[in-house]
Amino acid sequence: MEFLREILWQVAPIRYFFENISRIITYTQNHLELTMVGVILAIILWVSVGIIIYRYPKLSHGVLGIASIVMCIPSIALYGILLTLPGFGLGRTSALTALVLYAMLPIVRNVFVALRSVDPSILDAAKGMGMSKQEVLWEVQIPNALPTIFAGVRVALVMMVGIATLATYIGEQNLGRLIQHGITRTHPTMIIVGAVVVSIIAIGIDLLMGLLGKHLISKGLQLEESK
């Protein structure tokens, strides 16, 4: 055991990781906090917008156009632009705003597309049985659209973990900081630890969302089934 520890200790990133564990934990907490607040705000905002443009399809072209333009803007550029705006500046407001904006396209588009692609005969049957417009939306359309909506949220969340890394340049104390300082100090070990930890978190969240989806989405809508 002692021997194994000796060997691992020789590997610089591992040693760095354990020597700085408390700082890394703080960075991770900050990172996750930012992403989670961001994704919750994004879901509330963009699912509503998705439903609105489904109800008023005339708006859809404009809204989705804006969303796809936002998506194109390089993240450091969007942070940069927000940084110079009065009322935003360095710090969490800018970081959160950018994250929520990037989540716009995957969530709004998936909500819109998913609601539209619910089989019309199902809606016809629901209406014919005497469901009100609200009941049709919440009891039939949304549950049927859920797999696609959830996929959109998953993509948005994983993307947000990555984009949050860059928020270190606008003052967020998160895992990006290890990479930022590693680069400025030419400290490869720091860079590797930062990059690996943030990648593991991103991949982990992606896998976790996959599992969560299996529990959240009705078995009647899942493609694979136990035979």
């Binding site: 049957a125 005497g130 809508l221």
Partner: protein
């Protein structure tokens, strides 16, 4: 009872339904049939206000349906569509309990009702209750669709080509099951189809539509016997005569007063019948063992020996069987008559090929619009 009163629908410049009035008596099935684009589905969808009529209204049990809130109205009208429209995210049981839940039934009552309905549509509740729609076959899904529509026991049902999307064998099974159910349930039904054969089979009343107008509404028998015009005749099809065979039962065509003579002295007894002025009637001959034979009195005029003319009467059918079945049996056995024996209190009869021929010919030979008594 459903009464459509001058109901009509325009979509922009296009008139889907002109001005249609129709009454469907309590407990009867009215089948709306016609070529695509004739307005049959539009008319049906106006009854549960999935399409809002441009003019006219519908009375359900003498109450103007516009006086009810539209969702409440729909909960009392069972609705079955070709695509079934089961909710894929809900189990079979959850699907069936949709309307009872909307109506606020308690869980125990709903659960009991679900099982009862699955039994009614001939699906095993144990096996199917917790399945999802995608785990069922097309025919099974349509059964669940039917169960779901009947869940809150609505007095009225609308069915839009409900059996069109399944294979012919499944379709026939579903049709027969539905007929059995309807005999017990006695719901007031509007049934839409493009298939005249299905219309004849399912309907107590058939309404033929063309370009948004009602052309003829009658019982199937009346429709086949007295098509109102060339359109109806064409729509019924070139095989109207065959369809008639399917629609009428043997007791409507059979001969109930055929004389029975004994085989031993049949020659003399037949002679007596001719002397009495009888003509063109079937005569049944019975021997000492009870075996039956028959001949037509007209056949004897040439003075032949009866021994050469009589042929065995070996097929027995019931009065409720269709003439089509009788025809089939005669062809199979190379016979030209069958014996019809019902319950003890019913008079037995004989159904001959010649009788069928004359009967169908009388119905078919008339021109469209000319009245034939049936």
């Amino acid at each position: 009872m459903i009464r459509l009163e001058g109901i009509g629908k325009e979509f922009g410049d296009f008139t889907a339904v002109k001005e249609l009035s129709l009454e469907i008596p309590e407990g009867k099935t009215c089948v709306m049939v016609g070529p695509s684009g004739c307005g049959k589905t539009t008319t049906m969808r106006m009854v549960n206000r999935l399409i809002e009529p441009t003019r006219g209204t519908v009375y359900i049990d003498d109450q103007d349906y516009k006086k009810k809130k539209v969702e409440i109205l729909r909960r009392d009208i069972g609705y079955v569509i070709q695509e079934v429209g089961l909710f894929p995210h809900r189990t079979i049981a959850e699907n069936i309990s949709t309307t009872p839940k909307l109506a606020g039934w308690d869980d125990k009552k709903i659960k009991k009702r679900v099982d009862e309905l699955l039994e009614i549509v001939e699906l095993n509740p144990e096996e199917n209750r917790n399945k999802f729609p995608r785990q069922l076959s097309g025919g099974q899904r349509q059964r669940v669709g039917l169960a779901r529509a009947m869940a809150a026991d609505p007095p009225v049902m609308l069915m839009d080509e409900p059996f069109a999307a399944v294979d012919p064998i499944t379709r026939e099974n579903l049709q027969n099951m539905f007929l059995r159910l309807q005999r017990k349930m006695k719901k007031t039904i509007i049934f839409v189809t493009h298939d005249i054969n299905e219309a004849i089979k399912m309907g107590d009343q058939i309404a033929i539509l063309k370009e948004g107008e009602l052309v003829q509404a009658d019982t199937p028998e009346e429709l086949l016997a007295n098509p109102k015009n060339q359109f109806v005749t064409d729509f019924i099809g070139v095989d109207r005569a065959i369809k008639i065979l399917d629609l009428f039962s043997t007791d409507e065509v059979m001969w109930t007063e055929a004389p029975v003579i004994s085989k031993k002295n049949m020659q003399e007894e037949a002679q007596k019948l001719i002397e009495k002025g009888e003509k063109g009637i079937p005569v049944i001959v019975e021997d000492e063992q009870g075996n039956k034979f028959w001949f037509d009195l007209d056949e004897l005029e040439s003075g032949q020996s009866l021994e050469e003319i009589i042929r065995p009467l070996e097929i027995t059918l019931e009065p409720t069987n269709s003439i089509k079945l009788a025809m089939a049996r005669m062809l199979e056995h190379n016979n030209d008559a069958v014996l019809i024996i019902g319950d003890d209190d019913e008079e037995p009869g004989i159904l001959t090929l010649k009788g069928i021929r004359n009967y169908v010919y009388r119905i078919c030979a008339s021109d469209p619009g000319e009245k034939v008594e049936i």
